[in-house]
Chain length 198, copies 2
């Protein structure tokens, strides 16, 4: 499964232009996203102690996300950008609001949403590489590979937990939500924000 054929839409050029003009916000929000990705993995490790193989894999993913977090924070430091508090993008919260609340449906939905967030991050990195300076482009190129691995892990893990039950309707539902959040106007520029309001 390829990230670009999985997602329903590409990042709009207008977002990319906005990213070039708001590099500090992009990097701060990116640091927050890595921290959030580690938290999500850790939360799943708390809720599902019976899934030994899954929690071992999630712990490794959390360590990778924390390593990326450290790399982004070091970049902020090198560039004299203050790591200020920044409100979250609407993106992850709105995706998560569609998750069912009973198990194992909740777990399946959270895994699908995590797969989509990783896929979208991967797609954004590949677009950003076109416009960023060499240091950032090289860094984002290296992250792209891990995000693609994480995407596949989350998607396969959702299939495993579903244990033969079809989950394509859930994947479609969250892919549609992702498409809407990426292609509709969004007042707040963030790593996963929609089209800039002009």
């Amino acid at each position: 499964m390829n990230v670009n054929s999985f997602l329903r839409c590409k990042t709009p050029d207008l977002w990319l232009e906005q990213a070039e003009d708001n590099l500090s916000v992009l990097l701060i929000d990116h640091a927050n996203c890595e921290k959030k990705a580690a938290s999500t993995a850790l939360n799943l490790m708390y809720r599902h102690v019976d899934q030994t193989e899954m929690i071992l894999k999630l712990s490794k993913i959390a360590r990778e996300e924390l390593r990326h977090f450290e790399q982004v924070v070091s970049l902020l430091k090198d560039r004299n950008i203050t790591y200020a508090q920044l409100s979250s993008s609407r993106y992850a919260g709105e995706l998560r609001s569609g998750a069912r609340t009973h198990e194992p449906a909740r777990l399946i939905d959270v895994l699908i949403i995590s797969a989509i967030v990783e896929a979208r991050s991967c797609e954004r990195f590949s677009r950003l590489i076109e416009v960023l300076d060499d240091e950032l482009a090289e860094f984002y190129q290296s992250l792209l590979k891990s995000e693609a691995r994480h995407f596949l892990f989350y998607l396969n893990q959702a299939e495993k937990i579903a244990d033969g039950e079809a989950i394509q309707d859930r994947i479609d539902l969250f892919l549609e939500a992702d498409e809407r959040l990426i292609l509709t106007p969004d007042p707040d520029f963030r790593f996963h924000s929609g089209v800039p309001v002009t």
Copy 2:
């Protein structure tokens, strides 16, 4: 600063005897403690984005704790011990209940408490090494060194945040609480529990 001269008391022999008889509970609770230590570091990273050097160090500590978590879960798997849900010990919760709630006092207290939890873990590992089988003894010997490093980091970080203000009265307060929790009867055997109820 040495862990044993820092703490007010040693682990009682009765606890050690109980640990030998409850190896499964000890290992499961130990896995939970490593996960909890990673969460505590991550929570501090969320609250204090302005402390760049501290959050970089905390992120590295969280990665180490997660690595230990994976090692304990792998040991559980090798020994056919089911990683079941297990209630927390009274220890960390009661220590945390003494933390002040305004900043930077809250941060100073949480750092001191974290230092004490790491020191106590370190002391328990060194006692456990006397009675456990070779594989576990070797593993705990390796953890001992990281916990001692974490202990020193948390203690020094509390001093740094206090910025010259005396914190010995806070350290004394939490060391007394640790001593009470370790030396008084405790109905639930856990990694940080008190004296067994006979």
